[in-house]
Symmetry: C2
Subunit: 402 residues, 2 copies
Amino acid sequence: MPVYEKFLAGRVSRLAASEVRELLKLTEGKDVISFGGGLPDPSTFMKEELAEIARDVILRFGDKALQYAPTKGVLVFRETLKGFLKARDVKVSGDDDVIVTTGSQEALYLASLTLMGARDVVIVEEPTYLAALNVFKFFKTRVIPVDVDDNGIKTDVLEGKLKSLKSEGVNVKLVYTIPTAQNPTGVTLSFERRKHLIELASQHDLLLLEDDPYGYFTFEVERPPPLKSMDSEGRVLYFGTFSKIMAPGFRLGWALGPSRLIDVMELAKQGVDLHSSTLSQYIAMEAIKRGVVDATIEKARHLYKAKRDIMLGELEDHMEDLAAWTKPLGGFFVFLTLKRAIDTKKLLPEAIERGVAYVPGQAFYVMKNGSNTMRLNYSYPTPDQIKTGIRRLASIIRDKVM
Amino acid sequence: MPVYEKFLAGRVSRLAASEVRELLKLTEGKDVISFGGGLPDPSTFMKEELAEIARDVILRFGDKALQYAPTKGVLVFRETLKGFLKARDVKVSGDDDVIVTTGSQEALYLASLTLMGARDVVIVEEPTYLAALNVFKFFKTRVIPVDVDDNGIKTDVLEGKLKSLKSEGVNVKLVYTIPTAQNPTGVTLSFERRKHLIELASQHDLLLLEDDPYGYFTFEVERPPPLKSMDSEGRVLYFGTFSKIMAPGFRLGWALGPSRLIDVMELAKQGVDLHSSTLSQYIAMEAIKRGVVDATIEKARHLYKAKRDIMLGELEDHMEDLAAWTKPLGGFFVFLTLKRAIDTKKLLPEAIERGVAYVPGQAFYVMKNGSNTMRLNYSYPTPDQIKTGIRRLASIIRDKVM
């Protein structure tokens, strides 16, 4: 057998295994309540309607729906998608274009490939989406964190950082943000800060990468407008996904933004995977037209609000003295900070042993702070699992504090 | 509007627009018979069966088939796929693993990302698959061509080249090959040369990337064994796709090979697109189980053989004095070399004007030789289109020779 290590390219050392995924594997086949994943509840999948659509699409449009597609996506689907976005208050301006991607992960990857040169500087929320950090690291980007609080990224801190970096001769290229129901914290950027962020982008000549997987089903309030809709200068590249508003199994996402940038992402996509599933695109098109996406969103909104309420209620009942946590307006996650300096990563094996799993918050921090934090998912577990799981978690932490 | 050019990463300059795709656009909406594409004939798609399978899979397995999947692919599908491969004489050894990819393009991309460091040396057939050349170029690989003849890559020339490179201190890392019904030439590597290639890989400690989109439906003879099946040392990474044996719209491919290499590709895929369509994987699994893939292969074999025969017959009748061409045992393409030094790239606009399109062969050459060659696709056009198209082409070339 050859020594395979000698064949590996040097860049392989910059590929990071996703800690979330490795951790999830630990819980497989065991009687563990997992708050670790980020899966939608399968009861939101409109199976009967989607089965009918899949059948119809193959029978009626099979010659096209089963054929190769253009790299940017099926033209009629891209038009339908733009219409859907407009109806959901996402501005699509005259210079904008849309590219269909293999999940929004690929949108993030293609944007990074085309925009992030080695040592380019990108600012992220801290904590932020783990998989984004991994992609930025792969492309050798210099990542600078700015804290979030209950109103999202602290734009005054951001402003100070941009100024001090400029005085050091460092030009920031872009800000990566999940402004609505952020992952991992669940917090939502306030309207005032959105305005501020847009102003800063203009003043400092930045691009904004707006990742918006959860903005379509906020719970109580109407969501603040997407940054995409507040931007008049063409500085926002907006990522979305069908994973939470239809189902993840179609592996369908998109990037919407300045056509010049979308064109370059298209070129990159030709090399990466040529195009995304044609069949998924036809199904999503029909699902939009027949109202199945709208119906999924309503279903998801109610279900996840109920689950969030259960989790927040349990936390209040059992962990008030042990921790503080975020109150998400949407999305899949509550982010919890322990009052004592307990290392949640070190605690995890014991927690799994005692029947509950979570993601240690450290994974979401650039410099691996946040050792006393954890991300809790409420979208996937059942109400009963949420109740039992939070009680187990409270008891484990209480034992450590004693 | 910002000056977007300043935001683009330097690596963007290494992204090449696919000439084939740009050329195809020229023929859209015109009365042009195109031999330019590489599409399967949609009449090979088993629409009724696939529609039924899609419906069943969503109704019966929807909770899983519409959910996120592991990065390597759905476990039960990967097992089914391995069984399918074994039944088709593709060896799956104990140390082998399989990763499901978004088309075989992504398999090629992930393998290049993980194996091809800057200035690493890879040997390719000349001419070879355009999209592979583009990916290798993106990763800054040094690409060295070795000619093919009617029996595939000239392994004696390859041997000489490996020796002379070694004497210069240049270590070749791998050989990329499409041994059966090659793209663009349609030629098939002989059994003797396969043995020789495997020996050379062992002697020179090389990996072989075997790309096999067409090997499942050779026309007359049984195909020679895949390199994968002749290798006893774990040196072959084998790529395949469902695009030609089911339909391209599912965007489903795979890489099969040493588990150490597949594991690293998995790590890369986490960043690129997390996983490929779960639904496509469930549909492909059922299509294998219900014999729909086998039936598609038989349908394709007969249809494409008939179309190839029509194209070869027309060429003999109308172009004997003007050109020489390959006699493919399988696949989608005939490769044609003009006897006179006519630049087929310069000729193309006139050809399109006169109602016929092809791909200038130059695009498939590393150093842009082959200016008097062209690739002709027979899988997609109808028999009548093939007849009329070849006659048009003959008349255009004849006018140039006069």
